[in-house]
């Protein structure tokens, strides 16, 4: 298994370089270093000299990929914006944002608020989606199953933004049960989490419950279910003990892969609820054309996704002893 993991980690390096290269190319197609300088220096009184000074200070005064002015090939490739800005990231040195703040420090401080919402949404969501899906399977072909499906389709059809706005309107404004938005310290944070967590769970409920229901229904036709019933097991035991266990591989595939990505936060929820997480950090960086942050977040996102996929593979061996990672 360790050979397999080591191989996967080595495979990740060219993937990360590729992702970095594509991000870099796409970003600089839209924004030249001059554009970035203008964005940072503001609209008024921006002279060409000020732009040159900014570029020189931030290291954007070099060629993008190939430095013609250098003599040997090594320097031609290394003394470029791409090389200088990319290599350090593999050592987790993300550098400074255009406003001068250290990106790694900023990420550290923003990770917790993102997790404060993403972790409960993930775990409570997973438990409730699986439970509801099993219930619907239990009541399959009854009015509960039928109306449950109708409800799921309705939930899927509504935009995420609608959940946020109507949630804020009902629970925050009309019934005044929770703060409309905000974030706090210590225990105080709990009152700010209720609404985003409910909305986070609800907005994905329709699709997830239907997906898990389909998985469970497929399992219901298997021989071992018939055997369990023949043994005289109660139906709820058949479902929660046997069917759930055997349906773990597709559940794991969907769930474990996204666990590391929980650090990245939610763009929309964080923005609307004023949560200072990594999601809103990314959005702010895109709006202010801060390439240093965008590049770091894309790198972090791809790295976490790769970790998620490796963890998924490992988790298969835990839920199904027949699987070997070689």
């Amino acid at each position: 298994m360790f050979d397999y993991i080591a191989r996967r980690i080595l495979y990740a390096i060219p993937i990360l370089i590729g992702v970095n290269l594509i991000t870099f190319a796409l970003f600089f197609v839209v924004n030249t270093p001059d554009d970035m300088a203008r964005m940072q220096l503001g609209i008024k009184h921006v002279t060409p000299e000020a732009i040159e000074k900014w570029k020189s200070d931030k290291g954007y005064d070099k060629p993008l990929f190939f430095n013609q002015q250098k003599e040997n090939l090594g320097n031609k490739l290394t003394e470029t914006i791409f090389f200088e800005k990319s290599v350090a990231m593999f050592l987790f040195e993300f550098g400074r944002a255009d406003d001068g703040r250290d990106i790694a420090e900023e990420m550290k401080s923003r990770m917790l608020p993102s997790l404060a919402i993403a972790v409960p949404v993930f775990f409570l969501g997973l438990i409730s989606y699986v439970s509801f899906a099993l219930l619907m399977v239990f009541f399959r072909a009854t009015y509960i199953d039928f109306w449950g499906m109708v409800l799921c389709v309705a939930l899927m059809s509504i935009s995420g933004l609608f959940y946020i706005i109507s949630g804020q309107f009902l629970l925050g404004k009309l019934w005044r049960l929770v703060p409309i938005s905000g974030y706090g310290d210590g225990l105080d944070v709990s009152k700010f989490l209720v609404l985003p967590v409910i909305i986070g769970i609800l907005s994905s409920a329709g699709a997830n419950i239907r997906w898990y229901r389909t998985i469970f229904l497929e399992e219901m036709n298997k021989d071992y279910v018939r055997t369990a019933r023949a043994k005289g097991l109660a139906e709820y035991l058949v479902l929660f003990k046997h069917v759930l266990k055997n349906a773990m591989i597709p559940i794991m595939t969907g769930a474990i892969a996204v666990v590391p990505l929980l650090f990245m936060g939610s763009l929309l929820i964080e923005s609307f609820f004023g949560v200072p997480g990594l999601g809103s950090y990314t959005i702010d960086a895109i709006n202010s054309q801060d390439f240093a942050i965008v590049r770091s977040m894309v790198f972090l996102g791809s790295m976490l996704y790769i970790i998620g996929l490796i963890l998924t593979d490992i988790s298969y061996t835990l839920v199904d002893p027949r699987i070997r990672l070689i």
Binding site: V30, K44, G100, E106, F138, K173, R176, P179, G274
Partner: protein, 729 residues
């Protein structure tokens, strides 16, 4: 469930559940404000945008400030004893009169500050018992423990001296800082450009990020006369320089703070002067989390300053002089919460958790109604909540510009006849585009039609009949009436485009309108604009692009018609009229003249006007310049936006404006009223939640019954169920 329990535990004591503030923030004498855009810089040498100055202006004190109540805006001393004494010198250094403008080679501003002003408490000033600096050479352990200045156990202070002002002006040229006004000031302050070159050389020879002690390097144009007096020597006569002295760019920076924050370990932890300001102002930044909230608290060392005792007619009736002569600041703490979206911001204002709010277009009808005379007032619903409306015309202008290098709409034609035709075309379009309608439809009436580039409230602005643009308006029955469309059609015909057809080629006139990438919401604005041109049978082609490409087009002169805007830096006509000064052209000169307008006569007048003190003669010159502009019509003058702000009844002493930013110290809060209203407006409504749970239980009963029946059923029933499922699936 556990989250709900925690939430109830933390909320119950307040009797309201939706209070977004913790108990420690629930101070009576605190102002709850909001910011949407995170500040990028809080170093006064770098910060320029309104999102930054709302903080820096409360912390840093330049020598001058604007009178809070007087209009037009009037400069008064802040830390200075009096307004600067200005001496004028000829090229040989002899003293001459300020009226001999042509002979003036230099102006010397002498500023004397009030003795005894102290800085806010800060670790940069802390000394031990043997008078040694405590935190100027921090160990790794000390740095590891610190995440904000308050983490250092000891603080100190010291008296403000003239050297601190000089130090800050030198920082404009700092090689590692990017001051937006460096290039502008380098044209005026003697030796500033050379100083930047010197510092760059010195910096390149020292270690990266090493502290650059500017006290060691003198600057020709700056002189410290004594502890409380300093002089600034500038080129020629530049009366507007006094306005710059009221901006945080010219606020003092103590060398101790610069040295303290230059320690590499602190920079690594985002502990920099750019994020943790050190000033003498009424407030100090005690919490700096630009992602969530910024907190300003009263500076315990703030010097003696009193609320103004005089204002404008009507100020007393509005209650703006109730606190006359009271010691400032009136509020102890200001909590700025970051709120990026309009909907939560607006709702929290209505719940009483923000003390003031702007009005978005989606909430305008809920908040404001217009009387028969067009006067804006709050709706019944708002009035019942005690909310009041304050309006002010912003010292800004939004205009539509013609690229004067273009041969169709500008002066780009080779023959005088072509240029004359282009002028008439511009005049025709000026009449056709109905900005009264635009303001009514798209700005909810929040704007004033512009008759020239100068915004109201600015020295040089003309109101009433004298201020009317005769090219576009007629003065009828004491009111400006837009000329009929026939007048525009006539001008168009004279320009060689009868009914929008080029009489030489017979082809329809097509013009190009460059705008930045638009959302779906802006489509109606563009459609409206097309219709305005359609009145003259001109086809308007919209060329939408992203902001970077748009700027690029303007810089290269590739746009034909575009829209732009300007917020004044200071309340003087020069700050608007320079936008059309030839040498300020975008193309070739990288200036601020986006239309690339270049009229010799206008340029000459501008050069005279900008060096003159306010006088009737200067006003005459401004009038003549505006007259030239109206005739040439390089812009469609557009409109000056009106700021509408809503304020709760407990928020007092508010006189909004966009020029003076250090206004927090004048505001007052009636904390008792706010607390009562918050309780009254935010009683939780638990009924619907209880009903929901009851329905859930009731709805669950048949399910439980079905569950029990199924569990007790025989195997054959289960088999039949399976068959049904298989058929359905």
């Amino acid at each position: 469930m556990s989250i709900s329990c925690l939430f109830l535990l933390t909320s119950c004591e307040l009797n309201v559940w939706n209070n977004p503030y913790s108990e420690k923030d629930a101070q009576k004498n605190a102002l709850y404000s909001v910011f949407s855009e995170r500040p990028k810089h809080l170093d006064p040498v770098q910060s320029y945008s309104s999102s930054e100055i709302q903080f820096t202006a409360q912390i840093y004190e330049p020598p001058l400030q604007y009178h809070y109540l007087k209009r037009p805006f009037t400069l008064i001393p802040a830390t200075a004893k009096e307004l600067p004494a200005i001496q004028y010198l000829d090229k040989n250094g002899n003293l001459i009169s300020g009226e001999s403008v042509d002979e003036i080679a230099y102006s010397v501003y002498q500023i004397t500050i009030v003795p005894g002003i102290l800085y806010q408490p800060h670790p940069a000033f802390a000394k031990d018992e043997s008078d040694q600096w405590l935190y100027h050479q921090l160990s790794e352990q000390e740095i590891a423990k610190a995440s904000k200045p308050a983490d250092f156990p000891r603080t100190g202070t010291r008296e403000l001296v003239a050297e601190d002002y000089v130090y800050q002006i030198k920082r404009l040229a700092h090689p590692r800082l990017h001051s937006p006004i460096f290039e502008l000031m380098a044209d005026y302050i003697i030796g500033l450009r050379e100083y930047a070159t010197l510092l760059k050389q010195v910096d390149s020879q020292t270690m990266h990020n090493h502290h650059l002690d500017l006290r060691k390097y003198s600057l020709d144009g700056l002189e410290v006369v004594d502890d409380y007096t300093y002089r600034i020597k500038i080129k020629g006569k530049y009366p507007q320089f006094a306005y710059w002295l009221a901006m945080p760019f010219f606020a003092p920076i103590p060398w101790e703070a610069d040295l303290f924050y230059s320690q590499p370990g602190l920079i690594q932890k985002n502990l920099t002067l750019d994020w943790f300001p050190v000033g003498t102002g009424p407030y100090m930044l005690t919490e700096n989390n630009p992602n969530l909230r910024m907190v300003l608290e009263k500076n315990p060392n703030f010097h003696e300053e009193r609320y103004p005792v005089d204002g404008m007619p009507g100020d007393e009736e509005k209650g703006l002089l109730v606190d006359a002569n009271k010691k400032l600041p009136l509020i102890d703490k200001v909590i700025f919460t970051r709120e990026k979206e309009n909907i939560p911001r607006w709702n929290k204002f209505l719940q009483g958790y923000y003390d003031a709010a702007g009005i978005g277009s989606d909430s305008f009808d809920q908040a404001v109604q217009l009387t028969g005379q067009g006067e804006a007032m709050v709706t019944q619903e708002m009035a019942e909540q005690g909310i009041r409306l304050e309006t002010t015309v912003a010292v800004s202008t939004y205009y539509m510009g013609f690229n004067m290098l273009n041969p169709i709409v500008g002066d780009g034609g080779s023959r005088a006849k072509e240029r004359e035709a282009a002028r008439k075309l511009r005049q025709a379009i000026s009449i056709a585009v109905d900005y009264e309608e635009f303001i009514s439809i798209f700005a909810n009436g929040r704007g004033l039609v512009a008759h020239g580039p100068i915004a109201p409230g600015i020295i040089g602005y003309r109101d009433g009949k004298e201020g009317v643009n005769p090219i576009v308006y007629d003065w009828i029955d004491g009111q400006a009436k837009r000329k009929p469309i026939e007048a525009a059609k006539k001008l168009l015909e004279e320009a060689g485009y009868p009914n929008g057809i080029n009489q030489e080629t017979g082809s329809p006139l097509v013009l190009y309108y460059d705008v930045t990438a638009r959302s779906a919401d802006d489509k109606s604005k563009l459609d409206w604009m097309r219709k305005q041109f359609q009145k003259l049978n001109i086809q308007l082609v919209v060329r939408s692009t992203d902001y970077n490409r748009f700027q690029d087009k303007i810089r290269k002169g590739n746009a034909q018609i575009f829209e732009w805007g300007w917020n004044a830096d200071y309340p003087d006509a020069e700050n608007f009229l320079f936008l059309l000064y030839g040498p300020q052209r975008k193309v070739g000169n990288s200036g601020e003249n986006a239309a690339n307008y270049d009229n010799g006569e206008y340029n000459q007048f501008f050069e005279r006007m900008k060096n003159m003190d306010d006088s009737p003669e200067r006003q005459r010159l401004i009038d003549r310049m505006v007259e030239i502009l109206r005739y040439d019509a390089p812009w469609l003058w557009g409109y000056h936006p009106k700021d509408f702000g809503l304020y709760h009844a407990w928020y007092q002493n508010v006189k909004p404006n966009r020029i003076s930013n250090n206004t927090l110290k004048y505001f007052k809060i009636d904390g008792d009223t706010r607390q009562n209203k918050q309780r009254e407006w935010n009683t939780p409504v638990v009924g619907p939640v209880l009903i929901f749970f009851v329905l859930l239980v009731v709805g669950g009963i048949p399910a439980i019954v079905a569950f029990r029946r199924r569990e007790k059923s025989t195997a054959i029933l289960g088999y039949i169920d399976m068959k049904r499922v298989n058929n359905n699936v």
